[in-house]
Amino acid sequence: MDFIFEGFFEAYKLLVSGNAETYSAILATVKVSSGSIACSLLLGIPLGFCLGYFDFSGKKTLRTIVDTLMALPTVFIGLLVYAFITRRGPLGNFGLLFTLPGIGIGQTILALPIVIGLSATAVESMDQKLRITIMSMGANRRQLFLTSLWECRHGILAGAIAAYGRVMTEVGISMMVGGNIKWHTRTITTAIALETNKGQFGMGVALGLVLLAIAFCVNLSVSFLRRRY
């Protein structure tokens, strides 16, 4: 048990002393996960709205596919992205392998079905009377879309948090596509995996605590926003 407590003590020291290696992994994680969640929200919210709002043939099949993709294994995404961006792959010329943008692509693929699926659920559970109310006030199509989106903001926000949590805590994509290169593509999760293998519990625990702290801050901000709006 002692090594666990020592780990916490070591974590405290690393964080307070501003250990460069630790903060490099934190920065890489925050950068890549924020970028990928932003991309997945930009693409996923309009797609999720359309999936939840409109009736079209094949909607149920599409919904089943999206729901299935929500459980995509990260190592499988890592493998696919690796295959596409490796030098021999179709996107090999872009030099994305072992870079943060490469990890970002994989994490966007991971988060996108979650954002689409949960946004669609939020829109589907929207009261039908909302549409009547908005239209009866004289809204045009664009205003109807934007107001409807705003009205199901809480559901969409819940989807965004779920997606952010999944992106921040994944290991498979970061490890396979990023290569866990120190100072460059090492993220919190890959660093924890590596340091634990090396028996360096201190850094592992420190990074784990940072992950928890980030999750706590995100949830705190969201809960503040929900109260405010």
């Binding site: 909302l130 009547i132 009866s136 006030m137 004289g138 045009n140 205003q143 009205e151 903001r153 809480h154």
Partner: protein, 338 residues
């Protein structure tokens, strides 16, 4: 001569292939009050949604001020507004709900004044209510906020779907007064669906009876719904709660609805004039019909309400008052089936 504000041509509407509304031709005059009467499922709400340009009719055309319109038509969307039966407020404050439509119209400068005025029109003090969130209101307050949001827009047409169905008596009275005020002060055309016949007969220029998606009458008809039972040879009817028999001719089917026109009413069975079936009932309500300046009486026969129009002199002669037992007369050969 003014164009009618609405004209409907060959309108048909269906949900999932099931027809719910079919109107060959209908016009609504500017600044008129039109009442829609009919049982649940008769197509009143569907008609209001189509007139409110919320839905596109399956077939047919709707003209507004002479122009063909459909959902999102720029010619009409800022002029027509619909208040649905169940109040629905967006997840925002009372003020934001009331000012939403004004913001869509770009009325930036005096939004606060207009929203506050609309709130006070429906009897809500803006100081107390403007900042309240949507969930901190009672059903009646929510309905009044929803109405204020419509009134703030100074609409040309206000469509009301059972505006007083889910509110208490005081709120209902206030809603009735405010809607009439909009018509009086702004010349707003009102189209109101309600089960409160008495109110509709009091205020409306025209009453439309709907049943199974069709307009079958524009007056004071009483509709009695099936099922019907055989009372004797060739005579069908109903046995009412007070054991009286209500005879009708053989119906086309057990569930058909009979349209009965009451010919006369008297407080004395022996003095009731003319041939026909005579039944006794009790006057349950009396009111003054706006369009004809006639008395409008609801007479409960058993538990069925019959609607009767009388001129004021007749009313005085018969000394009608709620609670009074009277006799009504109708003729079997004048009953229509729908």
């Amino acid at each position: 001569m003014h164009l009618p504000i609405y004209e409907i041509r060959s309108l048909e509407h269906s949900y999932g292939g099931q027809p719910v509304l079919s109107i060959k031709h209908l016009t609504v005059k500017q600044a008129h009050i039109v009442g829609l009467i009919g049982p649940n499922g008769s197509g009143k709400s569907t008609l209001l949604r189509l007139l409110g340009l919320i839905e596109r009719p399956t077939h047919g055309e709707i003209f507004f001020n002479g122009l063909r319109v459909e959902p999102f038509s720029d010619e009409a969307r800022f002029l027509i507004t619909l208040l649905p039966q169940e109040p629905f407020l967006m997840k925002r404050s009372v003020f934001s709900n009331v000012s939403y439509g004004l913001k869509l119209r770009g009325n930036g400068r005096d939004i606060v004044d207009k929203a506050n005025r609309a709130l006070s029109l429906v009897g809500l003090d803006s100081k107390d209510f403007a900042r309240r969130p949507w969930y901190a209101l009672s059903g009646g307050e929510a309905q009044r906020v929803a109405l204020a949001a419509r009134l703030a827009l100074n609409p040309k047409v206000l469509l009301l779907d059972e505006p007083t169905a889910s509110v208490d008596a005081a709120s209902a009275q206030l809603i009735k007064e405010v809607t009439l005020r909009a018509r009086r002060e702004l010349g707003t055309t009102l189209i109101v669906a309600s089960h409160d016949w008495q109110w509709l007969y009091e205020i409306c220029d025209e009453i439309l009876h709907l049943f199974k998606g069709r307009i079958f009458g524009r007056g004071r008809e009483t509709i009695i719904f099936g099922p019907w039972q055989k009372l004797g040879t060739g005579i069908w009817g109903k046995i009412l709660s007070d054991k009286q028999q209500l005879p009708v001719p053989p119906p086309p089917n057990q569930e058909a609805a009979a349209v009965i026109h009451v010919l006369s009413v008297s407080e004395d069975r022996s003095t009731i004039a003319g041939e026909g079936i005579v039944l006794s009932g009790t006057v349950s309500r009396l009111s003054l019909e706006r369009k004809t300046s006639q008395l409008f009486a609801t007479i409960l026969v058993g538990d069925l309400p019959f609607k009767v129009g009388l001129d004021i002199q007749q009313g005085k002669e018969h000394t009608l008052f709620p609670g009074r037992t009277v006799f009504i007369r109708y003729r079997l050969d004048q009953i229509k089936w729908i």
